[in-house]
């Protein structure tokens, strides 16, 4: 199965990839390919758009229409692709820094518009590519190279940020929960509207080391031990949920999608100006 997925969807001439041993990004990248494989869509119409960061390097390894843009701007470039040709399926691969810090404005406004993009945030709670500085999802009191005395910032919950900004499909997956994450990714791509999957990744090289989280397997085991399914979470108190990660679909609604709305304006002029 893995072999087949690699043959079908990866650029072997781009290997070896840059991910460190044990990095969660590679697993998530393969999850995306597995989810795409299940889709009944023309693969030539799939565009993968990324920003800058370790996570954003994933687009280069995958054999689709791929564009590695500037730091934070993937969602804005993706918006242009989708507006110019709504027939294309446009998927964004981004990091927690790329999506929620430098690209935070684009993230919330694309969600507000409910434009049909699918955003996979490879969330490793740190800036990996630049060597371990804290990010908007680094938990308060954790360490980063720019938080040597502990992080005093409050962290964002990417799924909540998406939901309250107007995204119409929101879910969380993780490196540990492979099958579930693939299913969530598939549903996110099929959803007509702005969809976000907050994919819990792991950066053993920086976040793990700085915060004494052990080696990659320990970090992934932590995901297993602390995950609570979103359905079950609904029945739990805030106190019970402290320190847990909620996995699964967390929000879904059917608000009208942006390019479909715009098409209605264009349709008023089909056959000339009336």
């Amino acid at each position: 199965m893995t072999h087949e997925i690699i043959e079908k969807y990866f650029r072997k001439d781009m290997m070896p990839h840059i991910f460190c041993p044990g990095c969660g990004h590679g697993v998530l990248m393969k999850d995306i390919a597995c989810a795409i494989d299940k889709l009944d869509v023309d693969k030539d119409k799939i565009c993968l758009v990324s920003g800058i960061g370790c996570s954003s390097r994933a687009t280069g390894y995958m054999d689709f229409n791929t564009i590695h843009t500037t730091h934070g701007r993937a969602i804005a470039v993706a918006t242009g692709i989708k507006m110019a040709n709504p027939e294309l399926m446009v998927i964004v691969i981004t990091g927690d820094g790329d999506a929620a810090a430098i690209g935070g404005n684009h993230f919330i406004h694309a969600a507000r518009r409910n434009i049909d993009l699918t955003v996979f945030v490879f969330n490793n709670n740190i800036y990996g590519m630049t060597g371990g500085q804290f990010s908007p999802t680094t938990p308060t009191d954790d360490y980063g190279t720019t938080a040597p005395y502990g992080n005093i910032d409050q962290d964002f919950d990417i799924a909540d940020l998406a939901k309250y900004s107007g995204a119409t499909f929101v879910a969380r997956g993780s490196v540990y929960h492979v099958d579930k994450t693939i299913r969530l990714m598939e549903r996110a791509m099929l959803h007509k509207g702005f969809s976000v999957v907050d994919c819990m990744s792991n950066c053993p090289t920086y976040y793990g080391r700085k915060n004494h989280k052990g080696k990659a397997p320990d970090m992934i085991r932590w995901q297993k031990d602390n995950a609570v399914d979103s359905k079950k979470a609904e029945t739990m108190t805030d106190e019970e949920l402290t320190g847990k990660i909620i996995i699964g679909e967390t929000h879904h609604d059917n608000r009208e999608e942006y390019t479909a709305k715009y098409q209605k304006i264009k349709d008023r002029f089909v056959g000339g100006i009336k």
């Binding site: 650029r11 758009v49 564009i67 843009t69 701007r73 507006m83």
Partner: protein, 378 residues
């Protein structure tokens, strides 16, 4: 069909000309004195089955038009100084990824928020060097409403032909001016579209380019050929590399595709009377005051030459060198503290003196001020 006479504003001519060029995607953020372009784009694009989007800022706007262009649609944005500053990183991205796009900058007084409703030509150097690193760029500047209409079409043509971002450097005086213009018959207008790979060509690589134009044939996303685009230095496959030989090859090709085609890209207006000892070099809106000053000088029996830049970058080095052979003095008139004047000094022959008249107070250069300076120089 024949031509049609209409009263038009410069900003309006910019948008209408862009539609004729085939522009079908506009992303922008409002800013004086360019806002009318966005407003008209919102009104007119759906009528032409194109799309308009108001983005959350100018960084998003340039990013979105890069996306639109990658999807195969001719795309543009328009802004002024503060927004142009925000766009710089992605202008470099468009340059290295060879993504055609047109960025209109209707200049206003700066720096910073500066003088929002006043004319200026303060962004000449930023248009060339605003983004980091050595990179190709084309910059064109119109002097009238009619020329705005004609040159925005040229901007798209050059952008598509050489796959390079083109900056249309207007100024407030031209953007907000209304003139009666003769709209040319559409069938008389040349429209250039980007080159696509030959259908059966199975040796095609997205970033391989040769010939005089040195410009690759990159198809739109979704048309069957899959490839990678990155702002990292890349090889012919589009794959990232830090190999110094490949780096040299890419950057040199990007620069040379403009350098080797200067004669195709550079246009200008020149009229030098036989007895003229002095010529005025100018561009954009202020060229109109210069022309008036030259007429007034003629009334006083002083012959003055005119050299008006239309293409600002690449700079017409050869033409300015030639001009400096013909006259003893060159006066550069520009609405800034001295930007083009240094380029002219660099290109003029030794022995031809180069002078400057500029303004940074938000008012325009008046013909009498220019005339007085001409008399002072000769």
């Amino acid at each position: 069909m024949s031509s049609k006479r209409v009263l038009m504003q410069g900003n309006e001519a910019c948008l209408e000309g862009a539609l004729v060029a085939g522009m079908r995607f506009y992303a922008g953020y409002p800013i004086t004195p360019s806002t009318e372009i966005a407003e008209l784009a919102a009104l007119r694009l759906p009528m032409e089955q194109g799309s308009f989007i108001q983005m959350e800022d100018e960084i998003a706007s340039i990013a979105a038009i890069i996306g639109g262009s990658v999807a195969g649609v001719k795309s543009m944005t328009a802004t002024s100084g503060p927004g142009f500053s925000l766009m710089q990183e992605n202008i470099g991205y468009a340059a290295i990824t060879e993504t055609p796009c047109v960025i209109v900058n209707v200049q206003r007084g700066g720096p910073s928020t500066g003088l929002p409703t006043s004319p200026s030509q303060g962004d000449v150097m930023q248009a060339k060097w605003g983004t980091h690193g050595d990179h190709p760029i084309i910059v064109i500047s119109p002097t009238s409403v009619l020329e705005t209409y004609q040159l925005i079409i040229r901007c798209f043509n050059l952008s598509e032909k050489y796959r390079v971002p083109v900056i249309f450097l207007m100024d407030e005086s031209v953007g907000h001016m209304r003139e009666g213009i003769e709209i040319p018959d559409k069938s008389s207008i040349e429209i250039i579209d980007r080159k696509l790979p030959d259908e059966g060509d199975d040796t095609w690589l997205p970033y391989e380019a040769d010939g005089k134009e040195m410009t690759p044939a990159i198809p739109p996303f979704g048309t069957g050929r899959k490839y990678h685009i990155t702002g990292l230095i890349h090889d012919e496959h589009g794959y990232p590399t830090s190999n110094s030989e490949k780096t040299n090859k890419l950057i040199n090709r990007l620069i040379n595709k403009i350098e080797n085609n200067r004669d195709d890209i550079i246009t200008f207006e020149e009229s030098i009377p036989e007895n003229a000892k002095i010529a005025v070099v100018c561009f954009g809106g202020p060229a109109r005051s210069v022309k008036r000053a030259i007429t007034k000088a003629k009334e006083e029996n002083i012959d003055v030459g005119l050299f008006r830049l239309i293409t600002i970058w690449p700079f017409p080095e050869k033409q300015i060198a030639k001009l400096s052979e013909k006259v003893d003095h060159i006066l550069v008139a520009e609405l800034n503290n001295g930007q083009i004047v240094n380029e002219v000094k660099r290109c003029a022959r030794h022995g031809c003196s180069v002078h400057h008249i500029g303004k940074i107070d938000g008012t325009i250069l008046m013909p009498d001020e220019i005339l007085a300076k001409i008399k002072e120089v000769i």
